[in-house]
Each structure stands twice: as C-alpha cells, then as structure tokens.
Symmetry: D2
Subunit: 127 residues, 4 copies
C-alpha cells in the first residue's frame, strides 16, 4: 500500500448524519431502503452532483436502476425529497434535489414529541 | 417552539459516515438493510451503548425484533461485525460489538481497487 | 506503511464542528486560542475523558500548562464552559466539563441575528 | 423563535475535523491561530468558496485583515497550504487553496510516530 491511499482517505469527504434522523427515520415513515437513498442523495449533493440519476444511484446501491427510480419517485411523492430548478451564474437552468422537506418533517416530528412529553409530565404532576 | 429544542439539536451527537462506505457498501456485499443496521450499531456504540439488543434496534428500524436479530446475526456470520468481550475498570465482564471487521474489509477493497487502477494504467501505457 | 495505520485512520473518531460556530466564535467574544481550546475540550469529552486537566491540554496545544489553565479558567469565568459534578453508576462522584453554556450563547446569538434580519427586512418593505 | 431557525440549523453544513489533527497540530508546528485559520479555509472550501481573501477571514476571526494575510502567507510559506490554479468547465481560470500539503504532513507524522513506536517496542523486547 502506498501513501497516496492514506492521503485519499484523509482528504475524503464525510457525510454527517444527525442522530435524530437515525433514531427516527422509521417513525417518520421511511424504511431502510428509503433511508439509504436519502444518504446517497445527500452524499451526491455534497459532492457537487445535486441531480443524481437512478443510474448513478444504482451504481452505489444493491438495487437496479428501475428500483432506484421507484425509490426516488416514492420519496418525492411522499414529500421527503423535492426536485427544484434554478439558474446558475452562467444562465443555465439546472435541476437539483433538496432534502429540506425531510428536515422539515423531522423538525415537526421532534416538536410534537416534545409537546407530548410535556403534556405527559403535566398529567403526571396533576394526578 | 422553545429554545430547549434548538439547544437539544445543537448539542446532539452526529454520526460521521465515510463517503467511501456510502459509495461501496453494495460492492462489499451489503444491502440497504445491512447498511442501515451498521449505522444504527455505530450510533449506539458512540452513545455509550456498545451492545444493543435486537429489541433496541427494532425501536429505531422498520423491522421486527426477530428481523433485527437475523440481520445482526448475518453481519456477524459474514464477517462485518464482531462480538467481543472485555473487563471494565470495575472488574465486570461486558460484551460489545465492534465494526473493525467492516473497516478492514473496506480497507482491503479500496487497496484492491487501487491496484486494479494502477495495472489498467500500466496496460494502457504499454499498449 | 502498513494496513494497520490506514485502519487506525478509518476507525478514528472525528469532531464535528457546526459551521455556525466557525463563522461566529469571534462575534461571541472568543479568540483563536479560546476556539481551539473549545475543540480540544469537545474532543476529550467525546473520547470519554470529560475532565481534562491543563496538563493534558498542554500536550496537544502550543501553550504551557499554566497558559492552558488560564485559558480554561477564562472560558469558565466568561460563561462558555461549565464545570459540573455527577455520581456515576458505581456511586463515585466525578467532575466533568460541559459546553452547553457555549451552545446556549450561540443559540441566543443566532436568534438575535435572525430578529435583526427580519426587522431590517420589514423596514425596507415599509420604506 | 420560529421553525425557520431550527431548519436552518438542521440543514447547515458541518466541518468534520480528524481527531488526529486536533491531537497533533502543535507537534506539526502549528499554533492555535494557524489551526483556526486551517478550519476557516476548510469551511470556505466546503461552502464553495475555495479562494477566501484575508478580508473574508477577518470577518470571522478575531484578527485584522493584515493579520489574516500574514497568517495565510505563513501557512503557504511553511508548506501547510497551497495556492493552485485550474480552469473551470466554462474555460475560466480560477485560483483555489488546497489543504493537501497539511494532510501530507500529518500523514508522514503519523507514520513516523508509528515507526518510533514499533522500534521502541522492539528495543524493549530485545532488552
């Protein structure tokens, strides 16, 4: 092994996943394939490829291209992923995925759990 | 919403996932359920719970307890996860999972890809 | 170089630093030595050493033990770092540092910036 | 406080710092200002701004523009930071900073420590 490999590793990108998402994706209605797909999309976005095709996802997942297409379609339909458009600085229109809808759902979920926790505590104090 | 929630978020733990793993888990022979299980185990370990039971995993995944047990058993059997034992500072024997076998596999895989790339380059230069 | 080194690197811990902190530590009243000290303390806490001594910090910083003691004392005094006590599961009292006060300050700062931004926008719309 | 702030926080970028760097920057010859400057540059690069000016750094640090210029100049001179040039896809030449020289130094340092450790062990076994 050479030093080049270690350097590659040292300077590689990392994807940071909030523990809140790992703990709660199933409660949000995602299964393991959805969750893995979300991390793939996040990874592509952070590497400057904000509109990965099902083909690109299939290269990295244990699923076929059409299974990846169905998975991404499902995430868009259920409101976890959005497909947006924007003009870049050179006047070219480009499409990109955004995970903001997922973060919004996670945010609302955590708030509702918080509220439930407070109500439960108040009930117990009242009893 | 109150400040407590934002603080919780700010001070929460994050799980750092190497892009190399996201790109290559399928090539290593893991499917999406295996991959999600690996992240769950990593998350438990980092939160000071190095021996999560199938019950604990099931609370966070879209799978039943027995499905989680089968998933973890498979990861141990296929050599991605090991179950080790150690004495703590108070003389109590405890069991814990380690993901070192997975990192070793990933490490060997990247090295072999590297070698393949170099050989291919040499062939092209020789041609 | 051997594979052991790459493995060490792959399985090493990482410290995740919010971009909000990197962008705003100076506006919060911290200088570069304070900021580096905060990351050292966070790193020690995450490695299971929640009460690092000035000696331990000095091993990793470009400062003497007494400079590290002064730096940590300053962070406690200015309310960025707190020194708390807790009983562990074996009934032993232990001391530990907490960065919660810093996160609270950062949280308040971001909220006040947010408010200023909204007010400025309203003024501009009213004008 | 509104949900927008929490969302901003959730979807914000994070900078991942290897514990190896936190533990060894001083041994590599960096002081706390150098280390903070490195994290600033890494943060700018990851946010798509690979050529931050001393002005931009000064906005986020407790230092003046000329102090930041001296700091960055020093890092380039001592071989921790390099200033490279590249053509983008639209044929425009742009300059960017790279932290690869720092990772190379860190890599060599860890290897030499490793070697020292092995030699020490062999001496002890021989004695």
């Amino acid at each position: 092994m050479n030093q080049k490999l270690l350097l590659q590793w040292i300077s590689q990108k990392q994807v940071v996943v909030p523990v809140f998402l790992i703990e709660n994706y199933a409660k949000l209605g995602l299964n393991e394939q959805d969750f893995a797909c979300v991390l793939q999309v996040q990874s592509f976005i952070e590497q400057g490829e904000p509109f990965p095709t099902p083909d690109r996802l299939s290269e990295r997942m244990s699923l076929t291209t059409s299974e990846c297409a169905a998975l991404m379609g499902g995430l868009v339909k259920k409101g976890y992923l959005s497909l947006d458009k924007q003009w870049d600085q050179h006047g070219i229109l480009y499409e990109y995925y955004s995970l903001d809808p997922l973060w919004e759902k996670l945010c609302s979920f955590i708030q509702s759990e918080e509220t439930k926790g407070v109500e439960k505590e108040e009930e117990e104090n009242a009893a």
